[in-house]
């Protein structure tokens, strides 16, 4: 795990929405943990699915990828993979820096 910053050039149009989006992703990390504890793979699947759909739309391709892997992991009820993606998400959120052109 490196500490390099990830710089994202964001669409200035979305300047108002991006902070909220990133906050929701932060909340997602907590939710993933809760769902996993309850064994609620369906909710995990939908969470991953939505992340997959929204990520790139906001300019965060990596979040779409994480979402896709999370969704697949939830379908397969793969605990390990799910935790791995949660960690990847957390790491990403720590390193990402948004620059509005």
């Amino acid at each position: 795990m490196n500490n390099e910053k990830i710089i994202i050039d964001a669409d200035p149009d979305l300047s108002e929405l991006i902070p909220g989006f990133l906050q929701h992703r932060q909340d997602d990390i907590r939710l993933i943990s809760e769902y996993l504890e309850k064994g609620d793979f369906e909710s995990l699947r939908i969470l991953g699915h939505n992340m997959k759909g929204a990520g790139s739309g906001y300019g965060f391709d990596e979040i779409s990828e994480i979402g896709a892997l999370l969704e697949q992991a939830a379908k397969e009820k793969d605990h390990t993979e799910i935790r791995k993606q949660a960690v990847a998400l957390e790491d990403y959120l720590l390193r990402v820096v948004v620059v509005f052109k």
């Binding site: 149009d13 979305l14 108002e16 929405l17 909220g20 989006f21 929701h24 369906e42 909710s43 939908i46 699915h49 939505n50 997959k52 759909g53 929204a54 990520g55 790139s56 739309g57 906001y58 779409s64």
Partner: protein, 326 residues
């Protein structure tokens, strides 16, 4: 004009709404589930929605009711049969694409959503709907106009067969009627009779009392003649200014003469009372009667002529009488 976005992902709802707002579509409604959307559209309410939704952007993967089922449910509703629904979803299964169109969706936008692509498709779909709505409204107008024209045509047709003053059949209707009866009489080898009648001294009545009074006479006399014709098949028409003609199918000369005498008597009973002078105008008619069993390829005109000649003789003979050569 409003657009409804149905998506369980808050981030997606906001993103799509944002794209639409930026493109100029300010009226955007949000639903976080199919059930929520149904409520907004008042799907279960028989009186229908209380808002106008022109387009729906529908996510497929949603908990409980998915977008495809929601699409079907909405399209089934009578108020939303034509509403364009665009599915917006991650294309991870080609079957979803097929199912979407089978469910009635008109287009499919993949997530992650490309702003320009989405706005372009929304714009063209709204344009299409606008055109369709215009055509439907025009169609409705045309149908109403057609119905109106049909009604007016019926009225005109009626007017063209009936005398405006007396309300009884006019000459045109008479010609049509006797043509049919003549042919039938030929086919069945049955007798057909005519009574040709004329109001005595009608010109004098008009000259002395004025045309409005003359018209009043005509109306009363027509009514009296009509009343005196008891048999359902007997046909009365106004032939000319003060001339009337009666067609009696299946009737021999004695019967026709009887009818003519009845008519004459009834008309004589008609009193036209002049308001100002208390003077009473007495009216009488002269009638000529003719009958025949028509032969093949003959014309009814001959029978009219015979009746006409008989009428002439009735006039010559002193008026107020029925005459027949037969």
């Amino acid at each position: 004009m409003s657009i409804l976005i149905v998506d369980d992902s808050n981030d997606d709802r906001l993103l799509l709404k944002h794209y639409l707002n930026v493109a100029g579509y300010k009226d955007v409604l949000l639903a976080d589930s199919a059930e929520s959307a149904f409520k907004i559209l008042r799907l279960g309410d028989p009186s229908g929605p209380n808002i106008i939704v022109d387009l729906i952007l529908m996510d497929i993967v949603m908990p409980e009711t998915d977008g495809i089922k929601a699409c079907q449910a909405i399209r089934k509703n009578v108020y939303f049969e034509d509403i364009p629904i665009i599915m917006v979803s991650v294309l991870d299964d080609i079957k979803n694409l097929q199912k979407s169109f089978a469910a009635g969706a008109v287009d499919y936008i993949t997530k992650p959503v490309n702003k320009i692509e989405m706005v372009t498709r929304v714009r063209s779909m709204l344009r299409l709907k606008y055109e369709i709505d215009r055509r439907k409204a025009r169609e409705k107008e045309l149908i109403e106009m057609t119905q109106h024209l049909e009604t007016v045509n019926e009225m005109l047709e009626h007017l063209s067969y009936f005398d405006a003053l007396t309300g009884i059949p006019n000459r045109r209707y008479f010609e049509k009627f006797i043509d049919a009866e003549w042919k039938r009489a030929i086919r069945n080898e049955r007798p057909i009779s005519l009574i040709f009648l004329d109001i005595d001294n009608f010109k004098d009545i008009n000259d002395k009392y004025g045309h409005p009074t003359g018209d009043k006479c005509l109306k009363k006399i027509a009514k009296a003649i009509n009343k005196s014709l008891r048999r359902p098949g007997d046909f009365l028409a106004r032939y000319g200014g003060e001339e009337f003609i009666v067609v009696l199918s299946d009737t021999v000369i004695e019967g026709a003469k009887n009818v003519a005498e009845n008519v004459s008597a009834k008309v004589a009973e008609v009193e036209i009372i002049m308001k100002n002078t208390d003077a009473k105008i007495a009216v009488t008619i002269s009638a000529g009667v003719s009958t025949t069993i028509p032969e093949r390829n003959s014309s009814y005109q001959a029978l009219i002529n015979t009746a006409d000649q008989a009428l002439y003789k009735a006039k010559k003979g002193g008026k107020n009488r029925v005459f027949s050569d037969e």
